[in-house]
Subunit: 327 residues, 2 copies
Protein backbone atom coordinates (compact mmCIF):
# COMPACT_ATOMS: atom_id res chain seq x y z
CA UNK A 1 0.00 0.00 0.00
CA UNK A 2 1.53 3.29 -1.11
CA UNK A 3 0.50 6.55 0.56
CA UNK A 4 0.05 9.31 -1.97
CA UNK A 5 -0.61 12.93 -1.05
CA UNK A 6 -1.90 15.48 -3.53
CA UNK A 7 -1.46 19.12 -2.50
CA UNK A 8 -3.73 21.38 -4.54
CA UNK A 9 -7.11 20.09 -5.66
CA UNK A 10 -7.31 22.03 -8.91
CA UNK A 11 -7.95 20.74 -12.39
CA UNK A 12 -4.71 18.79 -12.80
CA UNK A 13 -4.27 17.63 -9.20
CA UNK A 14 -7.79 16.26 -9.09
CA UNK A 15 -7.61 14.75 -12.59
CA UNK A 16 -4.34 13.05 -11.70
CA UNK A 17 -5.77 11.66 -8.46
CA UNK A 18 -8.84 10.40 -10.31
CA UNK A 19 -6.69 8.75 -12.97
CA UNK A 20 -4.50 7.06 -10.36
CA UNK A 21 -7.53 5.84 -8.41
CA UNK A 22 -9.43 4.59 -11.44
CA UNK A 23 -6.75 2.01 -12.29
CA UNK A 24 -7.58 -1.59 -11.63
CA UNK A 25 -5.70 -2.36 -8.39
CA UNK A 26 -4.43 -5.72 -9.56
CA UNK A 27 -2.81 -4.27 -12.67
CA UNK A 28 -1.88 -0.88 -11.24
CA UNK A 29 1.83 -0.16 -11.66
CA UNK A 30 1.78 1.66 -8.30
CA UNK A 31 0.03 -1.26 -6.62
CA UNK A 32 -2.70 -0.60 -4.06
CA UNK A 33 -2.72 3.05 -3.01
CA UNK A 34 -4.45 5.41 -0.65
CA UNK A 35 -4.71 9.04 -1.74
CA UNK A 36 -4.88 11.94 0.68
CA UNK A 37 -5.93 15.32 -0.66
CA UNK A 38 -5.12 18.74 0.73
CA UNK A 39 -6.00 22.23 -0.45
CA UNK A 40 -5.82 25.45 1.53
CA UNK A 41 -9.35 26.01 0.24
CA UNK A 42 -11.36 23.37 2.10
CA UNK A 43 -14.17 23.47 -0.46
CA UNK A 44 -11.80 22.29 -3.19
CA UNK A 45 -10.86 19.25 -1.13
CA UNK A 46 -14.56 18.60 -0.56
CA UNK A 47 -15.24 18.81 -4.30
CA UNK A 48 -12.41 16.39 -5.01
CA UNK A 49 -13.73 13.99 -2.39
CA UNK A 50 -17.20 14.32 -3.88
CA UNK A 51 -15.78 13.30 -7.25
CA UNK A 52 -14.11 10.29 -5.61
CA UNK A 53 -10.68 11.60 -6.54
CA UNK A 54 -9.26 11.04 -3.05
CA UNK A 55 -9.71 8.57 -0.21
CA UNK A 56 -9.15 11.05 2.57
CA UNK A 57 -9.32 14.81 3.14
CA UNK A 58 -6.49 16.24 5.21
CA UNK A 59 -7.23 19.27 7.35
CA UNK A 60 -3.65 20.47 7.57
CA UNK A 61 -0.34 19.95 5.80
CA UNK A 62 0.94 18.06 8.87
CA UNK A 63 -1.98 15.69 8.61
CA UNK A 64 -1.61 15.42 4.82
CA UNK A 65 2.06 14.49 4.91
CA UNK A 66 2.46 12.31 7.96
CA UNK A 67 2.73 8.98 6.09
CA UNK A 68 3.33 10.32 2.59
CA UNK A 69 5.58 8.32 0.28
CA UNK A 70 4.65 10.14 -2.94
CA UNK A 71 3.80 13.85 -2.75
CA UNK A 72 2.26 15.53 -5.79
CA UNK A 73 2.42 19.32 -5.55
CA UNK A 74 -0.30 20.51 -7.91
CA UNK A 75 -0.50 24.20 -7.07
CA UNK A 76 0.00 27.15 -9.48
CA UNK A 77 3.66 27.64 -10.29
CA UNK A 78 3.91 30.91 -8.39
CA UNK A 79 2.70 29.18 -5.21
CA UNK A 80 5.21 26.34 -5.41
CA UNK A 81 8.00 28.17 -3.62
CA UNK A 82 5.83 28.79 -0.59
CA UNK A 83 4.47 25.24 -0.57
CA UNK A 84 8.01 23.83 -0.73
CA UNK A 85 8.98 25.93 2.32
CA UNK A 86 5.93 24.76 4.21
CA UNK A 87 6.27 21.06 3.45
CA UNK A 88 10.08 20.86 3.82
CA UNK A 89 10.04 20.23 7.59
CA UNK A 90 7.05 17.89 7.34
CA UNK A 91 8.23 15.46 4.64
CA UNK A 92 8.96 11.90 5.81
CA UNK A 93 12.42 10.56 4.95
CA UNK A 94 12.69 9.05 1.47
CA UNK A 95 9.48 10.62 0.26
CA UNK A 96 9.35 11.31 -3.46
CA UNK A 97 8.13 14.79 -4.37
CA UNK A 98 6.90 15.85 -7.79
CA UNK A 99 4.97 18.78 -9.25
CA UNK A 100 2.84 19.44 -12.35
CA UNK A 101 3.80 23.03 -13.23
CA UNK A 102 4.16 24.26 -16.80
CA UNK A 103 7.69 25.61 -16.32
CA UNK A 104 10.46 23.53 -14.84
CA UNK A 105 13.84 25.28 -14.43
CA UNK A 106 12.55 27.63 -11.76
CA UNK A 107 10.80 24.81 -9.90
CA UNK A 108 13.96 22.69 -9.86
CA UNK A 109 15.87 25.65 -8.43
CA UNK A 110 13.31 26.02 -5.66
CA UNK A 111 13.45 22.31 -4.92
CA UNK A 112 17.23 22.37 -4.60
CA UNK A 113 17.06 25.42 -2.38
CA UNK A 114 14.20 24.39 -0.11
CA UNK A 115 13.58 20.65 0.03
CA UNK A 116 15.60 18.47 2.43
CA UNK A 117 18.29 16.11 1.14
CA UNK A 118 16.34 13.21 2.64
CA UNK A 119 13.73 13.36 -0.13
CA UNK A 120 13.92 13.00 -3.92
CA UNK A 121 12.47 15.65 -6.21
CA UNK A 122 11.41 14.86 -9.75
CA UNK A 123 9.81 17.66 -11.72
CA UNK A 124 6.83 16.73 -13.84
CA UNK A 125 4.66 18.41 -16.45
CA UNK A 126 1.73 16.57 -17.96
CA UNK A 127 0.93 18.24 -21.29
CA UNK A 128 -2.79 18.35 -20.69
CA UNK A 129 -5.31 20.97 -19.82
CA UNK A 130 -8.51 22.70 -20.67
CA UNK A 131 -9.98 26.14 -20.20
CA UNK A 132 -12.15 25.26 -17.24
CA UNK A 133 -10.42 25.02 -13.91
CA UNK A 134 -11.02 23.49 -10.51
CA UNK A 135 -11.87 20.05 -9.16
CA UNK A 136 -15.32 20.16 -10.72
CA UNK A 137 -13.81 20.28 -14.22
CA UNK A 138 -11.38 17.44 -13.49
CA UNK A 139 -11.34 14.47 -15.83
CA UNK A 140 -9.01 11.47 -15.66
CA UNK A 141 -9.17 11.22 -19.47
CA UNK A 142 -7.19 14.47 -19.68
CA UNK A 143 -4.06 12.51 -18.82
CA UNK A 144 -4.67 9.64 -21.16
CA UNK A 145 -2.12 9.56 -23.99
CA UNK A 146 -0.81 12.95 -22.89
CA UNK A 147 2.92 13.55 -23.06
CA UNK A 148 4.21 13.66 -19.47
CA UNK A 149 7.50 15.56 -19.21
CA UNK A 150 9.88 14.43 -16.49
CA UNK A 151 12.79 16.57 -15.28
CA UNK A 152 14.54 14.82 -12.39
CA UNK A 153 16.66 16.78 -9.95
CA UNK A 154 20.33 15.86 -10.57
CA UNK A 155 20.60 13.98 -7.29
CA UNK A 156 17.30 12.07 -7.59
CA UNK A 157 17.75 8.33 -6.95
CA UNK A 158 16.69 5.44 -9.14
CA UNK A 159 13.81 4.12 -6.98
CA UNK A 160 12.24 7.59 -7.05
CA UNK A 161 12.43 7.65 -10.84
CA UNK A 162 10.82 4.24 -11.00
CA UNK A 163 8.00 5.39 -8.75
CA UNK A 164 7.25 8.39 -10.99
CA UNK A 165 7.43 6.19 -14.08
CA UNK A 166 4.89 3.86 -12.50
CA UNK A 167 2.59 6.79 -11.76
CA UNK A 168 2.77 8.08 -15.33
CA UNK A 169 2.09 4.58 -16.62
CA UNK A 170 -0.86 4.20 -14.27
CA UNK A 171 -2.59 7.31 -15.65
CA UNK A 172 -1.93 6.11 -19.24
CA UNK A 173 0.26 9.09 -20.10
CA UNK A 174 3.50 8.90 -22.06
CA UNK A 175 6.75 9.55 -20.25
CA UNK A 176 9.14 12.05 -21.85
CA UNK A 177 12.51 12.73 -20.19
CA UNK A 178 13.78 16.20 -20.91
CA UNK A 179 16.23 18.74 -19.53
CA UNK A 180 14.46 21.49 -17.58
CA UNK A 181 15.91 24.41 -19.54
CA UNK A 182 15.13 22.73 -22.85
CA UNK A 183 11.64 21.94 -21.60
CA UNK A 184 11.00 25.58 -20.80
CA UNK A 185 12.27 26.81 -24.18
CA UNK A 186 10.24 24.23 -26.04
CA UNK A 187 6.95 24.67 -24.21
CA UNK A 188 7.40 28.42 -24.54
CA UNK A 189 7.21 27.82 -28.30
CA UNK A 190 4.45 25.26 -28.57
CA UNK A 191 2.32 26.23 -25.59
CA UNK A 192 3.01 29.68 -24.14
CA UNK A 193 3.56 31.45 -27.46
CA UNK A 194 0.26 30.08 -28.84
CA UNK A 195 -1.50 31.49 -25.77
CA UNK A 196 0.12 34.89 -26.35
CA UNK A 197 -0.87 34.92 -30.03
CA UNK A 198 -4.40 33.87 -29.12
CA UNK A 199 -4.67 36.61 -26.51
CA UNK A 200 -3.11 39.20 -28.80
CA UNK A 201 -5.69 38.39 -31.47
CA UNK A 202 -8.60 38.94 -29.09
CA UNK A 203 -7.09 42.14 -27.72
CA UNK A 204 -6.42 43.57 -31.17
CA UNK A 205 -9.83 43.01 -32.69
CA UNK A 206 -11.79 43.90 -29.59
CA UNK A 207 -9.79 47.09 -29.23
CA UNK A 208 -10.90 48.19 -32.68
CA UNK A 209 -13.67 50.74 -33.15
CA UNK A 210 -15.45 48.27 -35.43
CA UNK A 211 -15.51 45.34 -32.99
CA UNK A 212 -19.29 45.44 -32.59
CA UNK A 213 -19.74 44.98 -36.34
CA UNK A 214 -16.79 42.62 -36.63
CA UNK A 215 -17.86 40.21 -33.92
CA UNK A 216 -20.67 38.61 -35.96
CA UNK A 217 -18.23 38.05 -38.83
CA UNK A 218 -15.86 36.07 -36.65
CA UNK A 219 -16.38 32.40 -37.44
CA UNK A 220 -14.71 29.07 -36.71
CA UNK A 221 -11.25 30.31 -37.72
CA UNK A 222 -11.39 33.07 -35.13
CA UNK A 223 -12.90 30.69 -32.61
CA UNK A 224 -10.04 28.23 -32.85
CA UNK A 225 -7.13 30.64 -32.98
CA UNK A 226 -8.60 32.59 -30.06
CA UNK A 227 -9.46 29.55 -27.96
CA UNK A 228 -6.49 29.71 -25.63
CA UNK A 229 -7.38 33.29 -24.70
CA UNK A 230 -10.21 31.79 -22.65
CA UNK A 231 -7.67 30.10 -20.39
CA UNK A 232 -7.09 30.94 -16.75
CA UNK A 233 -5.49 34.40 -16.63
CA UNK A 234 -3.67 33.89 -13.35
CA UNK A 235 -2.10 30.64 -14.46
CA UNK A 236 -0.87 32.19 -17.68
CA UNK A 237 0.48 35.23 -15.85
CA UNK A 238 2.47 32.88 -13.61
CA UNK A 239 3.73 30.91 -16.58
CA UNK A 240 4.83 34.05 -18.37
CA UNK A 241 6.69 35.34 -15.33
CA UNK A 242 8.48 32.06 -14.61
CA UNK A 243 9.51 31.60 -18.24
CA UNK A 244 10.51 35.16 -19.13
CA UNK A 245 13.63 34.64 -21.16
CA UNK A 246 12.43 31.87 -23.45
CA UNK A 247 9.01 33.40 -23.98
CA UNK A 248 10.46 36.86 -24.57
CA UNK A 249 12.64 35.52 -27.33
CA UNK A 250 9.68 33.82 -29.03
CA UNK A 251 7.58 36.97 -28.84
CA UNK A 252 10.35 38.99 -30.43
CA UNK A 253 10.75 36.46 -33.24
CA UNK A 254 6.99 36.42 -33.76
CA UNK A 255 6.82 40.20 -34.04
CA UNK A 256 9.65 40.20 -36.55
CA UNK A 257 8.03 37.50 -38.67
CA UNK A 258 4.69 39.34 -38.73
CA UNK A 259 6.44 42.48 -39.97
CA UNK A 260 8.23 40.44 -42.64
CA UNK A 261 4.88 39.07 -43.75
CA UNK A 262 3.48 42.59 -43.89
CA UNK A 263 6.39 43.68 -46.06
CA UNK A 264 5.94 40.76 -48.42
CA UNK A 265 2.23 41.50 -48.75
CA UNK A 266 2.85 45.20 -49.27
CA UNK A 267 5.43 44.42 -51.96
CA UNK A 268 3.09 41.94 -53.60
CA UNK A 269 5.64 39.11 -53.35
CA UNK A 270 3.24 36.52 -54.58
CA UNK A 271 5.65 33.59 -54.95
CA UNK A 272 7.32 34.15 -51.59
CA UNK A 273 3.97 34.29 -49.82
CA UNK A 274 2.75 31.16 -51.53
CA UNK A 275 5.93 29.36 -50.54
CA UNK A 276 5.64 30.50 -46.93
CA UNK A 277 1.99 29.48 -46.62
CA UNK A 278 2.59 26.17 -48.37
CA UNK A 279 5.57 25.40 -46.13
CA UNK A 280 3.56 26.08 -42.97
CA UNK A 281 0.73 23.94 -44.31
CA UNK A 282 3.02 20.99 -44.96
CA UNK A 283 4.77 21.28 -41.61
CA UNK A 284 1.49 21.26 -39.77
CA UNK A 285 0.11 18.34 -41.73
CA UNK A 286 3.28 16.35 -41.00
CA UNK A 287 2.99 17.24 -37.31
CA UNK A 288 -0.64 16.15 -37.22
CA UNK A 289 0.24 12.84 -38.82
CA UNK A 290 2.84 12.29 -36.14
CA UNK A 291 0.23 12.91 -33.44
CA UNK A 292 -2.63 10.59 -34.35
CA UNK A 293 -4.31 11.17 -30.99
CA UNK A 294 -4.76 14.80 -31.84
CA UNK A 295 -6.16 14.14 -35.28
CA UNK A 296 -9.76 13.31 -34.35
CA UNK A 297 -10.47 16.68 -32.81
CA UNK A 298 -9.07 18.25 -35.95
CA UNK A 299 -11.75 16.74 -38.10
CA UNK A 300 -14.70 16.97 -35.81
CA UNK A 301 -14.43 20.53 -34.63
CA UNK A 302 -14.14 21.43 -38.25
CA UNK A 303 -17.56 20.12 -39.02
CA UNK A 304 -19.39 21.45 -36.02
CA UNK A 305 -20.30 24.58 -37.89
CA UNK A 306 -23.96 23.99 -37.80
CA UNK A 307 -26.32 21.14 -37.74
CA UNK A 308 -27.73 18.04 -39.34
CA UNK A 309 -24.46 16.58 -40.45
CA UNK A 310 -25.62 13.95 -42.84
CA UNK A 311 -22.45 13.36 -44.79
CA UNK A 312 -20.10 10.59 -43.70
CA UNK A 313 -17.73 12.28 -41.30
CA UNK A 314 -16.30 11.77 -37.90
CA UNK A 315 -19.12 13.79 -36.46
CA UNK A 316 -21.52 11.71 -38.46
CA UNK A 317 -20.31 8.67 -36.62
CA UNK A 318 -21.30 10.26 -33.34
CA UNK A 319 -24.77 10.92 -34.69
CA UNK A 320 -26.68 14.15 -34.56
CA UNK A 321 -26.83 16.52 -31.71
CA UNK A 322 -30.40 16.46 -30.45
CA UNK A 323 -30.53 20.22 -29.97
CA UNK A 324 -29.63 20.77 -33.58
CA UNK A 325 -32.57 19.09 -35.16
CA UNK A 326 -34.83 21.26 -37.18
CA UNK A 327 -38.40 21.24 -35.98
Amino acid sequence: MIHITVIGMGLIGTSLAMAIRSADEKEAPLGPSVITGYDKDRRATGDARGRLAIDREAKSLEDALKDAQLVIVAVPVQAIREVFSQIAPLLPNDAVVTDVASTKAQVLDWARELLPATVDFIGGHPMAGKEQSGASAADPALLRDAIYCICPAPRARQPALELIEAMVKQVHAKIYYIDAVEHDAYVAGVSHLPFMLSTALVELVSDSAGWKEMAPLAATGFRDVSRLASGDAEMHRDIALTNRVALGRWLEDAARLLLDMRDQIEAGQSDELLELFEHARQVREAWLLSRPNLRPGEESFENISGVDVTKPSLLGRFGRRPTDRRS
Copy 2:
Protein backbone atom coordinates in the same frame (compact mmCIF):
# COMPACT_ATOMS: atom_id res chain seq x y z
CA MET B 1 -38.12 27.72 -63.02
CA ILE B 2 -34.97 29.75 -62.36
CA HIS B 3 -31.78 28.96 -64.24
CA ILE B 4 -28.74 29.13 -61.97
CA THR B 5 -25.17 28.84 -63.18
CA VAL B 6 -22.27 28.16 -60.87
CA ILE B 7 -18.83 28.93 -62.29
CA GLY B 8 -16.10 27.18 -60.31
CA MET B 9 -16.83 23.81 -58.74
CA GLY B 10 -14.59 24.19 -55.70
CA LEU B 11 -15.49 23.78 -52.04
CA ILE B 12 -17.80 26.79 -51.75
CA GLY B 13 -19.32 26.70 -55.24
CA THR B 14 -20.23 23.04 -54.88
CA SER B 15 -21.42 23.40 -51.27
CA LEU B 16 -23.62 26.31 -52.28
CA ALA B 17 -25.08 24.39 -55.23
CA MET B 18 -25.77 21.40 -52.98
CA ALA B 19 -27.43 23.59 -50.38
CA ILE B 20 -29.64 25.27 -53.00
CA ARG B 21 -30.60 21.94 -54.51
CA SER B 22 -31.31 20.21 -51.20
CA ALA B 23 -34.14 22.62 -50.35
CA ASP B 24 -37.66 21.28 -50.57
CA GLU B 25 -38.96 22.72 -53.87
CA LYS B 26 -42.34 23.66 -52.48
CA GLU B 27 -40.85 25.77 -49.72
CA ALA B 28 -37.75 26.96 -51.56
CA PRO B 29 -37.50 30.77 -51.57
CA LEU B 30 -35.99 30.58 -55.08
CA GLY B 31 -38.77 28.30 -56.28
CA PRO B 32 -37.99 25.41 -58.62
CA SER B 33 -34.50 25.74 -60.03
CA VAL B 34 -32.12 24.06 -62.45
CA ILE B 35 -28.42 24.37 -61.73
CA THR B 36 -25.73 24.31 -64.39
CA GLY B 37 -22.15 23.84 -63.31
CA TYR B 38 -19.00 24.91 -65.10
CA ASP B 39 -15.34 24.61 -64.20
CA LYS B 40 -12.36 24.97 -66.51
CA ASP B 41 -11.21 21.70 -64.95
CA ARG B 42 -13.72 19.18 -66.33
CA ARG B 43 -13.00 16.71 -63.53
CA ALA B 44 -14.24 19.20 -60.94
CA THR B 45 -17.56 19.51 -62.77
CA GLY B 46 -17.75 15.73 -62.93
CA ASP B 47 -17.12 15.49 -59.17
CA ALA B 48 -19.84 18.06 -58.49
CA ARG B 49 -22.24 16.18 -60.72
CA GLY B 50 -21.33 12.95 -58.93
CA ARG B 51 -22.24 14.59 -55.63
CA LEU B 52 -25.58 15.69 -57.11
CA ALA B 53 -24.67 19.33 -56.66
CA ILE B 54 -25.71 20.28 -60.19
CA ASP B 55 -28.34 19.23 -62.70
CA ARG B 56 -26.22 19.78 -65.76
CA GLU B 57 -22.52 20.02 -66.69
CA ALA B 58 -21.66 22.77 -69.16
CA LYS B 59 -18.77 22.17 -71.54
CA SER B 60 -18.09 25.84 -72.21
CA LEU B 61 -18.87 29.23 -70.69
CA GLU B 62 -21.18 29.94 -73.67
CA ASP B 63 -23.11 26.78 -72.92
CA ALA B 64 -23.09 27.53 -69.17
CA LEU B 65 -24.50 31.03 -69.50
CA LYS B 66 -27.00 30.83 -72.34
CA ASP B 67 -30.14 30.87 -70.17
CA ALA B 68 -28.59 32.02 -66.90
CA GLN B 69 -30.65 34.22 -64.61
CA LEU B 70 -28.46 33.89 -61.53
CA VAL B 71 -24.70 33.48 -62.00
CA ILE B 72 -22.57 32.51 -59.02
CA VAL B 73 -18.87 33.11 -59.66
CA ALA B 74 -17.12 30.81 -57.19
CA VAL B 75 -13.52 30.97 -58.37
CA PRO B 76 -10.48 32.09 -56.33
CA VAL B 77 -10.42 35.85 -55.89
CA GLN B 78 -7.38 36.30 -58.16
CA ALA B 79 -9.20 34.55 -61.00
CA ILE B 80 -12.33 36.70 -60.76
CA ARG B 81 -11.04 39.49 -62.97
CA GLU B 82 -10.40 37.09 -65.84
CA VAL B 83 -13.74 35.32 -65.39
CA PHE B 84 -15.58 38.66 -65.42
CA SER B 85 -13.89 39.54 -68.73
CA GLN B 86 -14.81 36.18 -70.19
CA ILE B 87 -18.46 36.15 -69.11
CA ALA B 88 -19.19 39.83 -69.81
CA PRO B 89 -20.13 39.32 -73.50
CA LEU B 90 -22.02 36.11 -72.69
CA LEU B 91 -24.35 37.26 -69.92
CA PRO B 92 -28.06 37.42 -70.79
CA ASN B 93 -29.77 40.75 -70.11
CA ASP B 94 -31.00 41.21 -66.53
CA ALA B 95 -28.90 38.36 -65.21
CA VAL B 96 -27.86 38.72 -61.58
CA VAL B 97 -24.19 38.04 -60.92
CA THR B 98 -22.69 37.33 -57.51
CA ASP B 99 -19.41 35.95 -56.17
CA VAL B 100 -18.21 34.26 -52.98
CA ALA B 101 -14.71 35.72 -52.56
CA SER B 102 -13.23 36.62 -49.18
CA THR B 103 -12.43 40.21 -50.12
CA LYS B 104 -14.97 42.54 -51.62
CA ALA B 105 -13.71 46.05 -52.53
CA GLN B 106 -11.45 44.79 -55.30
CA VAL B 107 -14.18 42.50 -56.68
CA LEU B 108 -16.69 45.36 -56.82
CA ASP B 109 -14.14 47.45 -58.72
CA TRP B 110 -13.68 44.68 -61.25
CA ALA B 111 -17.45 44.27 -61.62
CA ARG B 112 -17.90 47.99 -62.29
CA GLU B 113 -15.06 47.95 -64.77
CA LEU B 114 -15.90 44.76 -66.65
CA LEU B 115 -19.53 43.67 -66.36
CA PRO B 116 -22.14 45.14 -68.72
CA ALA B 117 -24.74 47.63 -67.46
CA THR B 118 -27.48 45.19 -68.47
CA VAL B 119 -26.72 42.93 -65.48
CA ASP B 120 -26.77 43.48 -61.72
CA PHE B 121 -23.76 42.63 -59.59
CA ILE B 122 -24.09 41.88 -55.90
CA GLY B 123 -20.93 40.83 -54.08
CA GLY B 124 -21.28 38.03 -51.58
CA HIS B 125 -19.10 36.37 -48.97
CA PRO B 126 -20.40 33.41 -47.01
CA MET B 127 -18.34 33.18 -43.81
CA ALA B 128 -17.80 29.47 -44.06
CA GLY B 129 -14.96 27.20 -44.96
CA LYS B 130 -12.76 24.38 -44.00
CA GLU B 131 -9.20 23.28 -44.66
CA GLN B 132 -10.05 20.72 -47.30
CA SER B 133 -10.81 22.05 -50.73
CA GLY B 134 -12.53 20.90 -53.90
CA ALA B 135 -15.92 19.49 -54.80
CA SER B 136 -15.23 16.26 -52.95
CA ALA B 137 -14.99 18.16 -49.64
CA ALA B 138 -18.18 20.12 -50.29
CA ASP B 139 -20.91 20.04 -47.67
CA PRO B 140 -24.20 21.96 -47.77
CA ALA B 141 -24.10 22.17 -43.95
CA LEU B 142 -21.14 24.55 -44.26
CA LEU B 143 -23.56 27.31 -45.21
CA ARG B 144 -26.13 26.61 -42.53
CA ASP B 145 -26.29 29.40 -39.96
CA ALA B 146 -23.21 31.00 -41.51
CA ILE B 147 -23.10 34.77 -41.77
CA TYR B 148 -23.47 35.67 -45.46
CA CYS B 149 -22.05 39.12 -46.22
CA ILE B 150 -23.72 41.03 -49.02
CA CYS B 151 -22.10 44.04 -50.71
CA PRO B 152 -24.32 45.23 -53.58
CA ALA B 153 -22.88 47.30 -56.40
CA PRO B 154 -24.23 50.86 -56.03
CA ARG B 155 -26.41 50.57 -59.12
CA ALA B 156 -27.82 47.10 -58.31
CA ARG B 157 -31.62 46.99 -58.60
CA GLN B 158 -34.16 45.84 -56.04
CA PRO B 159 -35.26 42.60 -57.77
CA ALA B 160 -31.61 41.50 -57.92
CA LEU B 161 -31.26 42.10 -54.19
CA GLU B 162 -34.40 40.11 -53.53
CA LEU B 163 -33.07 37.23 -55.60
CA ILE B 164 -29.81 37.11 -53.62
CA GLU B 165 -31.75 37.34 -50.37
CA ALA B 166 -33.85 34.37 -51.45
CA MET B 167 -30.72 32.39 -52.25
CA VAL B 168 -29.16 33.12 -48.85
CA LYS B 169 -32.41 32.15 -47.19
CA GLN B 170 -32.59 28.95 -49.17
CA VAL B 171 -29.18 27.77 -47.94
CA HIS B 172 -30.12 28.67 -44.35
CA ALA B 173 -27.40 31.27 -44.01
CA LYS B 174 -27.84 34.66 -42.34
CA ILE B 175 -27.79 37.75 -44.51
CA TYR B 176 -25.50 40.59 -43.40
CA TYR B 177 -25.41 43.81 -45.44
CA ILE B 178 -22.10 45.56 -45.18
CA ASP B 179 -20.02 48.14 -47.03
CA ALA B 180 -17.25 46.51 -49.06
CA VAL B 181 -14.39 48.52 -47.56
CA GLU B 182 -15.64 47.89 -44.03
CA HIS B 183 -16.09 44.24 -44.87
CA ASP B 184 -12.48 43.96 -45.97
CA ALA B 185 -11.12 45.72 -42.88
CA TYR B 186 -13.25 43.58 -40.57
CA VAL B 187 -12.55 40.19 -42.12
CA ALA B 188 -8.88 41.13 -42.22
CA GLY B 189 -9.10 41.28 -38.42
CA VAL B 190 -11.25 38.26 -37.64
CA SER B 191 -10.29 35.98 -40.50
CA HIS B 192 -7.10 36.91 -42.35
CA LEU B 193 -5.12 38.02 -39.30
CA PRO B 194 -5.92 34.73 -37.48
CA PHE B 195 -4.58 32.86 -40.52
CA MET B 196 -1.39 34.92 -40.44
CA LEU B 197 -0.89 34.31 -36.70
CA SER B 198 -1.55 30.63 -37.17
CA THR B 199 0.95 30.41 -40.02
CA ALA B 200 3.52 32.51 -38.16
CA LEU B 201 3.30 30.13 -35.19
CA VAL B 202 3.99 27.08 -37.35
CA GLU B 203 6.84 28.81 -39.17
CA LEU B 204 8.48 30.00 -35.96
CA VAL B 205 8.50 26.73 -34.08
CA SER B 206 9.36 24.58 -37.09
CA ASP B 207 12.22 26.92 -37.94
CA SER B 208 13.75 26.31 -34.54
CA ALA B 209 16.68 23.92 -34.10
CA GLY B 210 14.68 22.10 -31.42
CA TRP B 211 11.57 21.44 -33.53
CA LYS B 212 12.12 17.68 -33.59
CA GLU B 213 12.08 17.56 -29.79
CA MET B 214 9.38 20.23 -29.52
CA ALA B 215 6.90 18.59 -31.85
CA PRO B 216 5.87 15.83 -29.44
CA LEU B 217 5.25 18.47 -26.74
CA ALA B 218 2.79 20.35 -28.90
CA ALA B 219 -0.70 19.48 -27.69
CA THR B 220 -4.27 20.64 -28.22
CA GLY B 221 -3.40 24.31 -27.68
CA PHE B 222 -0.90 24.25 -30.51
CA ARG B 223 -3.27 22.22 -32.62
CA ASP B 224 -6.04 24.78 -32.37
CA VAL B 225 -4.03 27.95 -32.76
CA SER B 226 -2.18 26.42 -35.74
CA ARG B 227 -5.26 24.98 -37.42
CA LEU B 228 -5.70 27.71 -40.02
CA ALA B 229 -2.14 27.16 -41.23
CA SER B 230 -3.44 23.97 -42.84
CA GLY B 231 -5.63 26.04 -45.14
CA ASP B 232 -5.20 26.33 -48.88
CA ALA B 233 -2.01 28.32 -49.51
CA GLU B 234 -3.05 29.71 -52.86
CA MET B 235 -6.37 30.99 -51.58
CA HIS B 236 -4.70 32.73 -48.67
CA ARG B 237 -2.05 34.24 -50.91
CA ASP B 238 -4.83 35.68 -53.07
CA ILE B 239 -6.66 36.99 -50.04
CA ALA B 240 -3.53 38.66 -48.68
CA LEU B 241 -2.79 40.32 -52.01
CA THR B 242 -6.33 41.62 -52.55
CA ASN B 243 -6.58 42.94 -49.00
CA ARG B 244 -3.11 44.45 -48.56
CA VAL B 245 -3.84 47.69 -46.79
CA ALA B 246 -6.22 46.41 -44.13
CA LEU B 247 -4.21 43.27 -43.44
CA GLY B 248 -0.93 45.17 -43.35
CA ARG B 249 -2.29 47.46 -40.67
CA TRP B 250 -3.45 44.51 -38.53
CA LEU B 251 -0.08 42.79 -38.87
CA GLU B 252 1.70 45.93 -37.73
CA ASP B 253 -0.57 46.31 -34.75
CA ALA B 254 -0.08 42.65 -33.88
CA ALA B 255 3.71 42.96 -33.98
CA ARG B 256 3.56 46.01 -31.74
CA LEU B 257 1.30 44.30 -29.22
CA LEU B 258 3.54 41.23 -29.04
CA LEU B 259 6.53 43.47 -28.30
CA ASP B 260 4.53 45.26 -25.61
CA MET B 261 3.72 41.91 -24.07
CA ARG B 262 7.38 40.95 -24.16
CA ASP B 263 8.29 44.19 -22.39
CA GLN B 264 5.67 43.63 -19.71
CA ILE B 265 6.91 40.09 -19.13
CA GLU B 266 10.53 41.20 -19.04
CA ALA B 267 9.69 43.93 -16.54
CA GLY B 268 7.68 41.49 -14.43
CA GLN B 269 4.54 43.65 -14.63
CA SER B 270 2.40 41.08 -12.92
CA ASP B 271 -0.78 43.16 -12.47
CA GLU B 272 -0.75 44.54 -16.01
CA LEU B 273 -0.34 41.07 -17.48
CA LEU B 274 -3.12 39.65 -15.34
CA GLU B 275 -5.40 42.47 -16.42
CA LEU B 276 -4.57 41.95 -20.09
CA PHE B 277 -5.13 38.19 -19.97
CA GLU B 278 -8.32 38.57 -17.95
CA HIS B 279 -9.67 41.18 -20.37
CA ALA B 280 -9.02 38.96 -23.38
CA ARG B 281 -10.64 36.04 -21.58
CA GLN B 282 -13.79 38.01 -20.83
CA VAL B 283 -14.04 39.44 -24.34
CA ARG B 284 -13.80 36.01 -25.87
CA GLU B 285 -16.33 34.49 -23.50
CA ALA B 286 -18.77 37.29 -24.31
CA TRP B 287 -18.19 36.75 -28.02
CA LEU B 288 -18.82 33.02 -27.67
CA LEU B 289 -22.05 33.66 -25.81
CA SER B 290 -23.18 35.89 -28.67
CA ARG B 291 -22.48 33.11 -31.17
CA PRO B 292 -24.31 30.09 -29.76
CA ASN B 293 -23.83 28.17 -33.00
CA LEU B 294 -20.11 28.25 -32.49
CA ARG B 295 -20.26 27.16 -28.86
CA PRO B 296 -20.71 23.42 -29.34
CA GLY B 297 -17.43 22.93 -31.13
CA GLU B 298 -15.78 24.82 -28.32
CA GLU B 299 -16.73 22.23 -25.79
CA SER B 300 -16.35 19.10 -27.81
CA PHE B 301 -12.96 19.63 -29.35
CA GLU B 302 -11.78 20.37 -25.87
CA ASN B 303 -12.62 16.90 -24.68
CA ILE B 304 -11.31 14.96 -27.63
CA SER B 305 -7.95 14.59 -25.99
CA GLY B 306 -8.05 10.89 -25.77
CA VAL B 307 -10.53 8.17 -25.33
CA ASP B 308 -13.28 6.56 -23.35
CA VAL B 309 -15.09 9.70 -22.43
CA THR B 310 -17.34 8.46 -19.71
CA LYS B 311 -18.13 11.71 -17.96
CA PRO B 312 -21.27 13.59 -18.90
CA SER B 313 -20.16 15.97 -21.59
CA LEU B 314 -21.12 17.06 -25.03
CA LEU B 315 -18.88 14.39 -26.41
CA GLY B 316 -20.52 11.91 -24.09
CA ARG B 317 -23.83 12.62 -25.77
CA PHE B 318 -22.39 11.57 -29.09
CA GLY B 319 -21.20 8.33 -27.56
CA ARG B 320 -17.76 6.84 -27.80
CA ARG B 321 -15.64 6.67 -30.84
CA PRO B 322 -15.35 3.01 -31.80
CA THR B 323 -11.65 3.22 -32.59
CA ASP B 324 -10.91 4.51 -29.14
CA ARG B 325 -12.09 1.54 -27.17
CA ARG B 326 -9.50 -0.24 -25.21
CA SER B 327 -9.24 -3.92 -26.08
